[in-house]
Every structure is written in structure tokens, then in C-alpha cells.
Symmetry: C2
Subunit: 138 residues, 2 copies
Amino acid sequence: MNPSESNVPLAGQIAWNADGLVPAVVQDAVSKEVLMLAYMNEESLRLSLESGQTWFWSRSRNELWNKGATSGHTQQIVSLHYDCDGDTLLVKVRQNGPACHTGAYSCFYREGSVSGDALSSQVGDPQQAQPEDRFSPL
Amino acid sequence: MNPSESNVPLAGQIAWNADGLVPAVVQDAVSKEVLMLAYMNEESLRLSLESGQTWFWSRSRNELWNKGATSGHTQQIVSLHYDCDGDTLLVKVRQNGPACHTGAYSCFYREGSVSGDALSSQVGDPQQAQPEDRFSPL
């Protein structure tokens, strides 16, 4: 059988962690920016694939979380991949508005750098963070 | 003070998990492909920033791991960002050779899809996975 034609239950392919969760990297399918990382349980994975929008498990609130349900900043799923050992998801989305609760386009708006021998960080203004910023090398 | 000028220890900005680790998303700085996710502890973060190459903490082997030290498929760090709540890193790299131990360019070569009402997966051949494949929408 051509392996590209195999069709097996997705949830059974995932190496859920001890809490029944898997980290999901969310990437903008258009700009290719990495927007955020959140966690899915099996129910949120099922809801995501059924609805075509991202659902996560909030570890702080201990509840299912439909991204953007309150803010309107939803994520339409374009594709979903899982990695070689099945313990991480990659979800490519069409992002409506900012992905970060701070108002930043991406949650990764703060850059760490090496200053002399010390580990340091450059704290950016999330309101000013634009997709183009993320493409700049150090 | 302009927040973009602040300079604070990076390790202290990270919300290390109960095991002293933080997930690190590794992205190709050129193609923007997400290559893999691995975990860093404080020592591997320090080694990464000091050497300019990625170091991780292997959860299966319980040891520090210099990515590519054996295979030659090293990752030169271009930039390092951390997210809004400090519990995830985004490391942009120049990838030498394939990132995945299977020989695939990216560890995310397997695609999940909805087949009827069932969650299913399409198992691709990692040897055939090329960067261009990852850019195709469903």
C-alpha cells in the first residue's frame, strides 16, 4: 500500500502527555509567522477538525477554549500536521486579527539576545509588533 | 524608559515548567517552515546562546543534546523570541540538512485531515517531504 494513501484515526497517532494534552504550534498559513503555542486534548482536537476553527484546552482555566470566540480573532484551520514522534501538532491557520491577547499579531513579540556573556531580552511593544518585524534577523 | 531598550536576564523571563523545561519551536529562518519542537532547560538555553547553535534537553535520554553534533545537521541560531507568557521559545535557525531524525526536512511531514466524520491521518513518506510540500493548503 502506498503510505500516502493510508487512513488511520488521528487521535490514536498522538502521543498525549501525562495530562492528556499535546502542544499545538499555530502558524499563519499566509505569512508563515509562528503565532502562538497552545495545548489540545482529544476533545479540543475533535472540535477543531469538526468546526475548522481552533479549539484548545486552557491549562489555567481548566476548560475548552474556542480561540477568538470572545474577541472575534478566530483561526480558520488550513492544515494540521503532527511530528515524527506524534507529540506535537502544527496547525496552519488563516488568522483573523491579532493572535495574542496583548493585541500583538504574534505572541512571540519579545526577542532574547546575547549581551556580552549575559542572557538578556529585548522587550518589544506588542502593539507595535507587525508581521514584518518577525522576519528580521538579529 | 523605552521598553525596547530594557535589558533583563532572559532566563528569568522564562516560565520554566515543573520539570525545569520550556518548549522551543524551531523555525527555518529562510523558508519559514516549522522544523521541530524540542525542550530546553536553563543550561541548554545558555549553551545555545553562547554557541549560536541549538542545544536541547533530551527528555528520553535525560541529557543535554547538541542538535546535529552526530549527524552534522546543525542549526545556526538567527534569532530567539519568547512568547507573551514566557512559557514557549521560538528559535529561528539556518538549518544544515534535514531537521528530522527520519531524514525529512521537517519533523511535521504527516498530515491529519477530516475524512467524513472521522479524524484521520495521511502518512507521508519523510524521504519525499520537501519544503514546498509544507506550503500547500489542504
